[in-house]
């Protein structure tokens, strides 16, 4: 799909199409809050979409399933909540701090976890994330079961009042666009090509002289930092950071979003996040059956719908391949 085709004769047309799609996407983002949809719902969707895209960078483009991304999402939420509420950070700086914490964790966890591949990698990331969960359960600053509540949205750069939901919406939209652009650039760069090379044939990449381990850790760090960016933003939107954000259920949710939308596609995780967030909103009345519904979707997706929504659409487009 990528590689040689991107340099082929129709590159300008593809470029134009890409710009058009990006423009249309931006237009949708600008118009969405005026369509009567709840802005909080849209903001939640964007946070989870960014989270899923960050996760997909590892699963879809390096072929490594991290079952512990909730650790980055949740820890960033806690870090942001703490620095904004207790230390009075500007919301923007607070979010950056959260993402930085997640990135640092990603560097350490990545360095440990890449020592194993495949299914072991999933188990190791899950176990490391569980360690973070227990840590959050015990330390003081997370306030245990209560979580950090009442995080102030505050004034962005001291100028823009984020308590206004429309201002908050555009702030979140900007973060989402920047995060998405970083992922897009990462995937469509020589570095991204190296990632896909590792996914397809790791021994060959090693023999070609690529520092495979370092590349994987870098990708994991980027993915963790962006997952943290999503979690940090979410803590400002909902003004809370709780244990739910670091629990392995959250890791499972982001796997499901990516799976249902289409792993290894740029836009799939966004669609998947939309489906799951909408479903959770819609099914909120049936209480804990939601878990069962999630489980059923998981099973059905794995058994019959492995390409996901966007993956299935791309596979049916005639001009590809």
């Amino acid at each position: 799909m990528s590689g040689p085709t991107t340099q082929s004769a129709d590159a300008p047309t593809r470029r134009l199409a890409g710009l058009l799609i990006a423009g249309a996407g931006l237009a949708v983002l600008v118009v969405a809050p005026f369509t009567g949809l709840y802005t909080v719902f849209l903001m939640k969707l964007m946070c989870f979409a960014l989270f899923a895209c960050a996760f997909n960078l590892m699963l879809g483009y390096v072929g490594l399933l991290s079952f512990g991304h909730a650790a980055f999402f949740g820890m960033a939420a806690y870090a942001t909540g703490h620095v904004v509420k207790e230390w009075g950070f500007d919301p923007f700086l607070g979010i950056l701090a959260g993402a930085a914490v997640a990135g640092a964790m990603g560097l350490v966890f990545g360095a440990i976890a890449i020592r194993q591949k495949g299914i072991y990698f999933a188990m190791i990331t899950l176990a490391l994330a569980q360690m973070v969960y227990f840590f959050c359960l015990q330390v003081k600053f997370t306030h245990g079961e209560d979580g950090i509540q009442g995080i102030p949205r505050g004034m962005l750069f001291g100028l823009v009042d984020l308590r206004d939901s429309l201002n908050m919406y555009f702030f979140v939209a900007a973060i989402f666009v920047v995060g998405y652009a970083i992922i897009y650039r990462t995937v469509h760069s020589p570095f991204g090509q190296a990632l896909k090379g590792i996914r397809e044939n790791e021994p060959r990449m090693i023999s070609l002289g690529y520092p495979v381990a370092r590349i994987k850790v870098m990708a994991f760090t980027i993915s963790a930092a962006l997952a943290g960016l999503a979690g940090a933003t979410k803590s400002i939107v909902f003004q809370a950071a709780t244990l739910t954000d670091v629990h392995w259920h959250m890791s499972g949710e982001v796997v499901l979003m990516t799976l249902i939308g289409g792993m290894g596609t740029m836009f799939g995780p966004v669609v998947g996040a939309g489906v799951i967030v909408a479903l959770q909103n819609y099914l909120a009345t049936i209480g804990s059956w939601v878990t069962v519904v999630m489980g059923v979707i998981f099973v059905v997706c794995v058994l019959t719908f492995r390409r996901g929504i966007v993956g299935e659409i791309l596979a049916r487009l005639p001009h590809r391949r």
């Binding site: 072991y120 569980q130 794995v302």
Partner: protein, 296 residues
């Protein structure tokens, strides 16, 4: 009062006993995971949920049919094993040709379904389950007090672990199984029904989880979430031990249980995280686990 390393010895031995019991459960569960992974190449995320199911089946048998602990110790694992066989035949067996990650994702979904369903019917608070009459009371060992049921749990799980090891390493059936792990295609060419063996292996592996669940029922309250965090600890143990050897997973399970017990005595804050720290250290020193060997 006697003291050992500055800790009253009854306290130390008490914690070591708890550690040994936890270790026995870790051993049973990681053994099941190792057997299933060896033959099916699937990491069974639903193992914790099926362990919970074993405990719940025992409780349901007692509550609705009046069937007591001893029959339940046999019947509940059989029921859980049958559920496992059904799952393997109808769904899991379709995933063998795919990336192993799909097996993990499938069983993860399965765990959500099983746990979610039980939570909906029974809540998360948990149901009490009394130990059998014979095993109430306990023995004074001089240096500590050993409740009879706890002693039984250790003996029973060690027997089952050792029996499984004998079955796999010392019998003809076990030799087929080990051959199927190495070269399923060749074993098949010799006329051995490999798909049937895979089905039975999955059934057996999850029956072990069900057995552990029944053993656990009188110790902990029977709750739908009892297997949820346990399975992640067991994953860490599997990473520490490596999935290569049966004996390795038993030893690692017991060892980690004891280390947790010691940690709870000397530095209780770290008792829930120590296993993950050990995992990280082992990964740095021996990436394939203590008993593992590089695969592929």
């Amino acid at each position: 009062m006697q003291e050992l390393l500055g800790i009253p010895s009854p306290l130390l031995f008490g914690q070591l006993l708890i550690g040994l019991i936890n270790g026995a459960f870790y051993a049973l569960l990681s053994l099941g995971l190792a057997v299933i992974f060896g033959v099916l190449n699937v990491i069974n995320f639903a193992h914790g949920a099926l362990y919970m199911m074993g405990a719940f089946v025992a409780w349901l048998l007692l509550t609705y049919l009046g069937i007591g602990y001893w029959p339940a110790l046999v019947v509940a694992p059989l029921i859980v094993g049958a559920v496992g066989i059904l799952i393997e035949r109808t769904m899991l067996s379709r995933l063998y040709d795919l990336d192993h990650l799909y097996g993990l994702l499938f069983t993860f979904g399965l765990a959500l379904i099983i746990e979610g369903t039980f939570i909906n019917f029974y809540g998360v608070s948990g149901q009490p389950y009394a130990p059998p009459q014979v095993l109430t009371g306990g023995y004074n060992l001089g240096f500590m007090f050993l409740p009879a049921y706890r002693g039984w749990v250790i003996v029973a799980s060690l027997l089952v672990c050792f029996g499984t090891w004998l079955l796999i390493e010392r019998t003809r059936l076990g030799s087929y199984l080990r051959a199927a792990v190495e070269r399923p295609d060749l074993v098949r060419a010799f006329g051995i029904n490999v798909p049937l063996m895979m089905t039975l292996t999955y059934g057996f592996g999850v029956a072990l989880a069900g057995f552990a669940g029944v053993l656990a029922a009188p110790l902990y309250t029977v709750s739908p979430i009892m297997g949820q965090n346990l399975i992640i600890v067991v994953f860490a143990i599997v990473v520490i031990g490596g999935l290569g050897s049966i004996l390795g997973s038993i030893v690692t399970g017991l060892g980690i249980g004891l280390i947790e017990g010691l940690t709870r005595t000397f530095y209780p804050e770290a008792s829930s995280t120590v296993v993950f720290v050990i995992m990280a250290i082992v990964l740095i020193i021996r990436p394939h686990g203590l008993f593992g060997r590089p695969r592929e």
